[in-house]
Amino acid sequence: MTFVSLAFKNLLRHKTRSLLTLAGIAASIAVLFSIISFNRGFEKGLSRELERTGIHFMVVPAGCPHEVAALVLHGAVTPQFLDLHIMDKLKNNDNISIASPILVTQMPNPERHRIDLIYGMDMSHIMALKPFWEIKGSIPSGNNEIIIGYEVAKHDNIKIGDIISYSSTGGGTAVSKSFKVAGIINRTGGQDDAFIYMPIKAVQEMLQKPEGATAVGVKVSDVMRMTEVVDELSQSIPGIQIVTMGQVMDSIANLARSAKVLSLSVAVIAILISAVSVMNSILMAIFERTQEIGMMRAIGASRFDTFRIIIKETIVLTASGGIAGIIIANIGATAIEGFVKGFMPYVPSGKLITFEPSLAIACIMFSIVLGVLAGVYPAWKASKITPIEAIKG
C-alpha cells in the first residue's frame, strides 16, 4: 500500500461526496481548458485568415477603425462611399498590383420578404479577397450570377442553379434584377456564411452608382515598399483612410480581448468555488476521522504522515477532476465552440478548438496545484490532531 492508494480508498468511503466534489473540479477545469483552447484557436485562426488574404491594405472612407476592421473581415454596411476618382489613382499607381473595389449594402428580396446583406466584389479577385473559401459549384462568370453563404443557402434551402431576384431603389428609380446561383460557399463558421456575393458591377448598376465602393482592397507588388505606398496614397488622396492587415488584426484582437477577460474570469470563479468545495469536503472527512487519525499517530504516523495522507486525498480528487474535465471538454468541444462563438465580435472561419496535449497537461498540473492549495489547510489541521485527544480509553 502507498499513500496514494490509501488516499483513493479513503475517498471511496464517501463515493457520493467525492463524486460531487470531483464533478465541480471537472466542470471548472473543462471550462478553463475550453476557453484557453478557444482563445488560442481564435488567435491562430485570425492570423491564418489574414496571412492567406492576398490583400495588404484596405482603402476606406475616413471613419471609425473598428468599422473598418469589420468591413475588411466580413463586410459591414457603411453609409459612406469612396470618391469615384480614387479607383483611377489606385489603378495608375505602378506599385499596386491589385486594386479590388468592394461594395457592401443591403437589398430587399421581395420573394422572401426580407432584406439581404449584399457583398459586391470583383469575382476575378475572389481568391485574393477570400482565400480560405471552399466553393461548391462555380465562381460567377457573368454579371447575373451570384454565390451565396452557407447559412443563407441552408435557411432558404437554396440550391445551385436557383434564381433569386432583388430590387433596389438606391438611385431613385426602382431597379430589379434576377440572378442565378452559381455556387454555394462551404460553411466557414464565421459571418461570411450570412452574405450574398454579387459581382460588383451588378451591385453598382442596381444602386445606380457606377463607380461606387465602400472599400478598395489593395495588393502591392513589392511588400517591402508597402509603407512608402501607404504614405504616398494618404498624402495624395484626401478623405480616405488606409488600414493595413496588421492594424485590422490588432483591432480584432482588441475586440476579442474583453470577451477573453470575461470568459477567463468566469473560469477563475468556477475554479475558486470548486476549490473551496474540495477544501470543505476534505475538512468534513477530517472531522469525521479525527479518532482514526489519532490512532494512526499512535501506531507510528508522524505529523508529516498525517499531513501527507490528507494532501494526497485532495490531490487525487482534483487531479482526477482535472482529467475528467479535459475528457469532458474534448467530448463537448464542438458544442462549446458553437456556444462561445456566439459571444465573439468576430470569429475566424474553420474549426478553432483543437486538442493540444501540452495544454491538457498544463491543465492537469494546474488541478494538482489546486489540490495542494485546497489541501494545505485541512492537512495542516489534520497534522495538529494529537493521539490523546482523539483516543479516549
Binding site: 479518532q291 499512535a298 490523546i388
Partner: protein, 217 residues
C-alpha cells in the same frame, strides 16, 4: 525494560487543575505481563499513554529499553512508537475502507518499510485470521476486529504491547480468547501491559498494578 520515576501528570481544564497521575514510580521488566486496574478516572489511560510515548508527563523521568524518553522531541517519540511499541484499543480503530491485510500493513506505510505479503499472512495466521485476509472490517465480529488490531500492533515486531481495555467491547468468550492470544504473545517474549476492568483477567497477569487517584496502591 521500562522505568518510571516520580511521574506526575496534571491536566489543565480551564481554571481547574486535574492531577491525573501523582508520583508514579514503576519498573516493568522485559517479558512481563502486567495488568493495570483501578476505578474510572484513577489515571489508567493517562499512565498507558505516557508509557506509550503518546503523552508527556508534567514531571518525572522515564526510560524505555535504556533510552531516556523525557525531553525527547516529537520526532523521536514517533520513532519509538513505530519501532518499539504496539497499541491495542478498546474500540479497535480499524480503517473501514481497507481490507484486513491492508489494515495490518498500515504501520509499514509510516515506517517506510516493506514486508512480504507472506510475512503478513503468517502474522494473521498467528492471530487466527488466515481465512479472512480480504474481508473488510464491517464483515468481522468484534473479537475478529480485535485480532486484526493485535496483528497490526505486531507488524513492526514491538518490544511491548500496550492494550487499553482490549476486551472492553467483547463478550466473555471473546475476551478469554483475546486474553489467551496476548498470553501467547507474552510467551514469545513480548512485554504486555494491559489496562482492564475485568478482575478475573487482571488476576491472571504476572503482576497487578492498582491505581487510585493517580497513585499506585
Amino acid at each position: 525494560m521500562i522505568e518510571l520515576k516520580g511521574i506526575e501528570k496534571i491536566y489543565i481544564r480551564g481554571a481547574e487543575h486535574v492531577r491525573a497521575l501523582n508520583g508514579i514510580d514503576l519498573s516493568i521488566g522485559q517479558g512481563e505481563f502486567v495488568s493495570i486496574t483501578g476505578h474510572s478516572g484513577s489515571g489508567k489511560t493517562t499512565l498507558l499513554h505516557i508509557l506509550g510515548c503518546l503523552d508527556k508527563p508534567t514531571k518525572g523521568a522515564m526510560s524505555l529499553s535504556g533510552i531516556t524518553i523525557n525531553g525527547m522531541p516529537e520526532s523521536g517519540l514517533v520513532k519509538i512508537r513505530r519501532q518499539k511499541i504496539g497499541f491495542v484499543f478498546q474500540q479497535f480503530y480499524l480503517i473501514p475502507g481497507l481490507s484486513v491485510l491492508e489494515n495490518v500493513a498500515l504501520p509499514l506505510l509510516f515506517g517506510r518499510t516493506k514486508k512480504a505479503t507472506d510475512e503478513i499472512k503468517s502474522l494473521l495466521k498467528l492471530v487466527g485470521l488466515q481465512d479472512k485476509i480480504d474481508r473488510k472490517p464491517s464483515e468481522l465480529s468484534g473479537g475478529e476486529m480485535q485480532r486484526v488490531a493485535i496483528a497490526r500492533a505486531l507488524i513492526n515486531n514491538p518490544e511491548v504491547i500496550l492494550a487499553d481495555e482490549p476486551t472492553g467491547n467483547l463478550d466473555t468468550e471473546n475476551s478469554e480468547n483475546i486474553f489467551l492470544l496476548l498470553k501467547s504473545l507474552n510467551s514469545r517474549g513480548i512485554t504486555i501491559i494491559m489496562v482492564t476492568h475485568n478482575t478475573d483477567l487482571a488476576g491472571r497477569a504476572d503482576r497487578i498494578i492498582r491505581l487510585k487517584d493517580g497513585k499506585i496502591q
